[in-house]
Symmetry: C2
Subunit: 335 residues, 2 copies
């Protein structure tokens, strides 16, 4: 009986030891050093865009979600359904009322959302802007594409495709700043680096597939030596692709498009479009969440200041671009 009691006591001791070990390990996990960078599942970060149905937002949202999975926090996606600044303002105000851990916003225009953004900051809710900036707001950081540089890259790729010679044209949306910058980067680079190439026309595709198709047909007639077209947005790119497909076998126009919607990727796969410029959209979402997480957990040096004279995070981030061709197109279909 005494022996039995000893075994009993030993067992209880071993049991207690395991419980303690387990509890100790859990406790140690609460410091950053031991548990890695990890938040709480109850922490909610919200991404807000305009025209929320656009295929374009899928990739930044995927980046936002991937960062949340890695950091163990929760995300939500909200958006104005239309291209409407008032609607987006309302969506931001509804988000503020829910007191989230942070908000990432793509601003419909540089001015309209400033009061709503500043209201969030004043309520101690961190705001990061991505894709489209509102530079005069109090948001901590902007992550987006350097559009001029994307035009430079498109020009270098076009020169490579054409053996550094021939006539090229641009189909764009004149008057919209990001498209103007893409066009300027392309045109400047052709002029400065490729003396045997010439930009013969810069046309307006209205961001519309039908108009872009008609404009392409017109330009191919007007410039019989036309060897390439750079089209600065995806919807028009599909129209250019159609025009060249319909022109038949003899036509060897090189098309460089923009962004990576499914139609564009399909046209790269079947050889209609030679290349497209992919923006670093996953990076916009991924690093927006990282930044919001660091602000929420006060992991930045310097700390944010009420005077706004401190920059606790990188203030401007060029998320980079990638050139998509047949050789890497499969990596860009949504997963």
């Amino acid at each position: 009986m005494k022996k039995m009691l000893l075994v009993y006591i030993l067992l209880i001791a071993a049991f207690a030891l395991y419980v303690l070990r387990f509890e100790y390990t859990s406790q140690a996990n609460s410091s950053w050093e031991n548990r890695g960078l990890r938040g709480d599942i109850g922490e909610t970060y919200i991404m807000i865009t305009f025209q929320s149905g656009l295929e374009y937002w899928k990739s930044p949202l995927k980046g936002f979600e991937d960062a949340a999975d890695t950091l163990g926090v929760t995300v939500e996606y909200r958006g104005a359904t239309r291209y409407d600044a008032k609607e987006q303002t309302t969506v931001i105000e509804q988000a503020i009322a829910r007191k989230p851990a942070g908000i990432a916003i793509s601003a419909i225009d540089p001015q309209s959302l400033i009061p709503a953004i500043n209201k969030a900051i004043e309520a101690d809710i961190p705001v990061i802007l991505f894709d489209a900036d509102a530079p005069d707001s109090q948001a901590y950081s902007f992550l987006g594409t350097d559009n001029y540089k994307s035009g430079v890259t498109a020009a270098d790729k076009m020169a490579e495709l054409l053996g550094r010679e021939g006539e090229v044209a641009v189909l764009t949306l004149p008057g919209q700043q990001n498209h103007e910058e893409r066009t300027k980067g392309f045109r400047d680079t052709i002029q400065e680096r490729y003396p045997s190439m010439k930009v013969v026309e810069i046309a307006d595709g209205h961001g519309d597939a039908v108009i872009s198709r008609e404009e392409t047909i017109r330009m191919m007639k007007a410039h019989p030596q036309l060897a390439g077209i750079f089209v600065t947005e995806a919807t028009g790119g599909a129209g250019v692709g159609e025009a060249v497909q319909n022109a038949g076998e003899g036509q060897t126009l090189q098309i460089i498009s923009f962004d990576t919607n499914k139609v564009t990727l399909d046209m790269i796969k079947n050889g209609t479009i030679s290349a497209t410029i992919a923006q670093g959209t996953w990076n916009m979402g991924y690093w927006s969440l990282q930044y919001l997480f660091h602000l929420h957990h006060q992991l930045t040096v310097p700390a944010p200041s009420s005077s706004g004279e401190n920059a606790p995070l990188p203030v401007m981030v060029d998320t980079g671009i990638s050139v998509v061709t047949r050789s890497n197109v499969d990596d860009y279909y949504a997963k």
Copy 2:
């Protein structure tokens, strides 16, 4: 006796359950989702600079170390002791031979280190550049200060200090690109935004305290109405401070300096220097390590490609600046 056996079995069962629970928890931790962003203590990341003894590198190294603590990895600091491109190349090659998980480099000049950087990339060792770029190398990203913008901020601060009127001067290092950009940002902003202010002289302080002091004394004589000096580097800033201190009570020159070494912070504390521009040096180090970690663990979208046509990370990061005055100077002393 039967009752005792039952207790015995129950205890063993409870014990086994706890062991299992503990093991299960440990196992779950091996996926990113459950353990947070966390590496391995055996993973070593190396930071390499030139003039390794400079006080300036302490803050980027602190950021690098802080990120390593958070992510549970190891860092080392190496540097060329002198301002010598060959020595820095050797240090990089020695680092490559140790096959680290990643290398962060501040490049002594834009050209000299390109072969060594590309050699690391070819050996599948990720390289990120910070503070000083080598744009034609294959490094994945650059994190540093927008020097023009820092001059703009200095000009706005000077205007605030002087009530938007008066004569100002710049003491700089003509011919060095970052200093030229700081000067240009300052001068352009005064000209464009502040019609009652004037930049009366741009002088050469040679990055030397004694010369900067003498130049300040000379300028105060040459321009009796001089109300402020913007000095684009810290060593000269101390000289300007001395000149104004020695000039005595009547002198009310506003000084805006650059960077946050101890001498500068002390002069802000005692009121000699009104403000200094702090670069986002902690951010440079912190986010360099984060980027290297993400490359090493292949957490980026898109993945790095051998053709170099993918940008797996933000390519250019403006790490921001902060304005340090008496009110926040204590935050900037090394901790």
